[in-house]
């Protein structure tokens, strides 16, 4: 404590220090990110290298075992097949078919799930939907895939219903939780400052719900992917899952793996690049909160 009278209140940190401090923090973050990505990528390279290496001729004594190149083609062969299929133009078409199914099915599921989440704020509707939500959350997706495949065959409604049944509850649970946690103190604050209801919804309710919706979107989407491909394996005439079935039936392991790899990389791209970019862009304030 000082006993002298200050002429101006103290400033927290001199601005000059502040800049270098931030610079240092940013550098540290970048270094940390680089090393994380390095190890991540290294894991892929390691697996691929071992896989390729095990199939070399020097291990020919293993022929007849599962490591036979005829049964399990190496990564280089799979990559070659990938470009072959890509050149034929079947890949974009298959992805388009699958993605359209996901977009329609999961779009509907998201709307329905959010609506039920809102309705469940009332005691009666909560009682009405509670068990349905629980069942959807806990039953394996395969059940719905099989049921819809039996009932709908290869009609487009099948996958959509399978997606809705497996994912709506994830959205419902998140929306419902978000609504329960609405920040009453902020809404009261806005009310006392006579901020319009429209502006309160737009600047308080929606930003508050956004992370909850995003979580529902993210988890729901990752399940919608798997379910869609599964429905295609069972009961479709186009799409990634269908192509997998065809290669399996034709016993073309190299093509089968190509489709799996393509599927895997696309999912990884969506998850790690697209969704994470959205998160960084729109939820920057959350990093600020966790930083302190």
């Amino acid at each position: 404590m000082t006993t002298t009278e200050p002429t101006a209140p103290p400033i927290e940190t001199p601005p000059a220090d502040r800049v270098t401090e931030e610079e240092l923090a940013r550098k540290a973050r970048r270094a940390e990110l680089t090393s994380r990505w390095f190890w991540r990528i290294l894991s892929y390279i390691a697996v691929l290298a071992i896989w390729e290496f095990a199939l070399l001729d020097i291990f020919s004594f293993l022929r007849g075992s599962p490591l036979d190149p005829k049964l399990l083609p190496g990564p280089s062969e799979v990559v070659a097949t990938f470009f072959e299929i890509w050149g034929e133009g079947t890949m974009p078409a298959a992805f388009q078919a699958t993605l359209t199914r996901i977009a329609v099915g999961f779009g509907l599921s998201f709307l329905i799930g959010a609506m039920i989440g809102i309705l469940m704020q009332s005691k009666w509707f909560e009682g009405f939907f509670k068990d349905a939500v629980l069942i959807s959350l806990s039953a394996p997706g395969l059940i719905w895939v099989l049921i819809t495949a039996i009932i709908f065959g290869n009609r487009p409604l099948g996958p959509a219903i399978a997606i809705i049944l497996t994912t709506f509850a994830l959205v419902t649970v998140n929306v419902s939780e978000g609504i329960k946690a609405l920040p009453k103190d902020l809404l009261d604050m806005a009310k006392s400052f006579q901020v319009s209801v429209f502006k309160r919804n737009r600047q308080i309710v929606i930003p508050h719900l956004a992370p909850y919706l995003f979580t529902g979107l993210r988890f729901g989407f990752s399940i919608a992917w798997k379910v869609t491909v599964l429905t295609e394996v069972f009961s479709s005439s186009e799409g990634i899952g269908f192509e997998m079935r065809i290669s399996a039936v034709l016993f073309d392991m190299s093509e089968f793996l190509t489709w799996i790899l393509a599927f895997f990389f696309f999912a990884l791209f969506l998850e790690k690049v697209v969704l994470e970019a959205i998160e960084r862009r729109y939820f920057r304030w959350r990093q600020a909160v966790t930083a302190t």
Partner: protein
């Protein structure tokens, strides 16, 4: 000139066994260029009274009216906690409560941020500021709409002594200059005596127990005899209430 008229105000929360009486039969007029402090023990309904006056809560019975020159007065409210939107920057938090987004308004917001020594923090998110800094943003927000009546609920209790003193002076200066009305809740009798020309003492159960005028010139020095006497007087009131309660 702003006017607050409170008639037979009664407020309870909950029903049956959970019923809590927060305010009981409060009658009160505050007019003109007053600086009114509300003091009283924790839970005596101080925040509830401000919430009713600012339209957040509705009375169980009775009426309140806040007018300024015949029209409905615009209140500014500084809360016990900062209540900032975590997803908006400091500047946008101030802009959120403005009526328009004009350049003049923006400049005014910046001016009040500078008043609370946060002129360079406009682009930060609240999560990047310390608790005391967040509280100061809340103060700047209430000032920035240049309200007819400024309601403050223990605004300085989370701040360090030096910052609190600087802001107390700034507040008083503004009150003097703009001739606005300030309604100020505090636990600190010294603070109340230093700042206000009227002190309302509330007791447990939400009853208005005492209404004390303090007609000493500003600025008031706590070391000054008359200020010390006034403070002792209010403290004695407190003790009497305590005795009554036990």
């Amino acid at each position: 000139m702003a006017e607050i008229r409170i008639k037979n105000l009664h407020k309870e929360f909950g029903v049956g066994e959970d019923k809590v009486v927060a305010l009981e039969d409060v009658n009160l007029d505050i007019t003109g260029h007053s600086f009114v402090s509300i003091v009283g023990p924790s839970g005596c309904g101080k925040s509830t009274l401000l919430n009713i006056l600012t339209g957040i809560e509705t009375p169980t019975s009775g009426t309140v009216a806040i007018t300024s020159d015949g029209h409905v007065a615009a209140p500014g409210y500084v809360f016990q906690a900062a209540r900032l939107l975590p997803w908006r920057t400091v500047t946008d938090n101030l802009m959120f409560v403005q009526e328009d987004r004009s350049e003049d308004t923006r400049k005014r917001c910046q001016r009040y941020l500078e008043m609370v020594q946060l002129g360079d923090k406009g682009t930060k998110f609240p999560g990047e500021l310390s608790g005391g800094m967040q509280q100061r943003v809340g103060i700047a927000r209430a000032f920035s709409i240049e309200p007819d009546v400024l309601f403050m609920d223990e605004p300085f209790s989370h701040l360090d002594a030096i910052t609190a003193r600087a802001l107390r002076r700034e507040l008083h200066h503004m009150w003097d200059e703009t001739k606005k009305m300030v309604v100020f809740v505090t636990h600190d009798v010294g603070e109340a005596v230093e700042l206000s020309n009227r002190i309302l003492v509330f007791a447990k159960g939400g009853r208005l127990e005492d209404d004390i005028q303090i007609d000493l010139p500003f600025p008031r020095d706590p070391a000054d005899d008359e200020v010390a006497v006034a403070k002792a007087h209010v403290l004695r009131k407190f003790e009497e209430l305590d005795l009554l309660a036990s």
